[in-house]
């Protein structure tokens, strides 16, 4: 099959980069990227729990790492990835019931997930640091 000659080269269907990016294409790949980021991000949760189980000195060390500027940047990104993945996931669950497949709804749900992920991330960080 692999080396059979193409006698009459027919037009092939264009690959991804030919298309103007649509919002649901972007949502799709971002859902996957955030899923993989969360996967490795569980190391952070494990590290924090182990530190808490270890004792005050080690816990302080890990708290300082998380509380540093780079630490906070990573945790902020983690929060947003989690929120984006969660709202994107809810969108998937709605589709799974057979609803929301018309293009207007698809676009609306994409934008709604993006807005919700930004707002909820802001809310969580405001509750964590803004209220004290």
């Amino acid at each position: 099959m692999a080396d059979s000659k193409v006698v009459d080269p027919r037009p092939l269907s264009p690959h991804l980069q030919i298309y103007r990016p649509l919002i649901n294409m972007v949502m799709s790949i971002v859902h996957r990227i955030t899923g993989v980021a969360l996967y490795f991000g569980t190391l952070l949760l494990a590290w924090w729990l182990v530190a808490a189980a270890q004792g005050p000195k080690y816990f302080q060390f890990v708290s300082d790492v998380f509380g540093s500027l780079p630490g906070k940047v990573v945790l902020f990104g983690y929060t947003w990835a989690l929120m984006h993945h969660m709202f994107g996931g809810i969108r998937h669950l709605i589709w799974d019931t057979g609803r929301g497949f018309d293009l207007t709804t698809v676009d609306r749900m994409s934008w709604a997930s993006i807005v919700a992920s930004v707002l909820s991330t802001a809310l969580i960080w405001f509750a964590a640091y803004g209220l004290r």
């Binding site: 996957r32 899923g35 993989v36 969360l38 996967y39 569980t42 190391l43 949760l45 494990a46 729990l49 182990v50 808490a52 189980a53 005050p56 816990f59 302080q60 989690l82 969660m86 996931g89 809810i90 998937h92 669950l93 799974d96 969580i124 509750a127 964590a128 640091y129 004290r132």
Partner: protein
């Protein structure tokens, strides 16, 4: 004689063969919708567990060690964390399996990566479980 054809199903057979019977045990992976369904169940579980866990974590920002320890030792909090770890671990393993199967086509690397995926998720999961147990029951 002409070529033999498979027997035509009688109307009775066609009726007795339920849709469930026809799909049971089928599919290339022989597991039907199992993967899909577990990904959904754990996804729904994660919505609740992640939301609750975030509330607890936010409440602990800036707290001293004794407070953190006391909070994580509360049975309701410990059980919540264990459920989060269990659901999260199943979900992330299934999710990463899909990603690997989508992008890795050589049989050898695929099998190795799928194994590493299982090892990583179980390793992370049991580490978290151990830490939660140690907090609750340890000295």
């Amino acid at each position: 004689m002409s070529t033999r054809l498979p027997p035509t199903p009688s109307p009775t057979q066609a009726i007795l063969r339920t849709p469930l019977g026809r799909v049971r045990g089928l599919g290339s992976a022989k597991e039907g919708t199992d993967h899909f369904w577990k990904q959904r169940i754990t996804g729904v579980a994660n919505i609740m567990l992640v939301t609750a866990a975030i509330c607890i974590l936010v409440s602990l920002i800036g707290a001293d060690y004794a407070t953190v320890r006391k909070t994580l030792q509360k049975p309701a909090v410990a059980i919540l964390l264990l459920m989060l770890v269990l659901a999260g671990m199943m979900h992330m393993r299934l999710g990463m399996q899909t990603v690997i199967e989508d992008y890795v086509h050589s049989e050898g690397s695929k099998v190795v990566l799928l194994m590493l995926n299982t090892f990583f998720t179980i390793g992370i999961g049991l580490t978290c479980v151990f830490a939660v147990f140690k907090l609750s029951f340890g000295a």
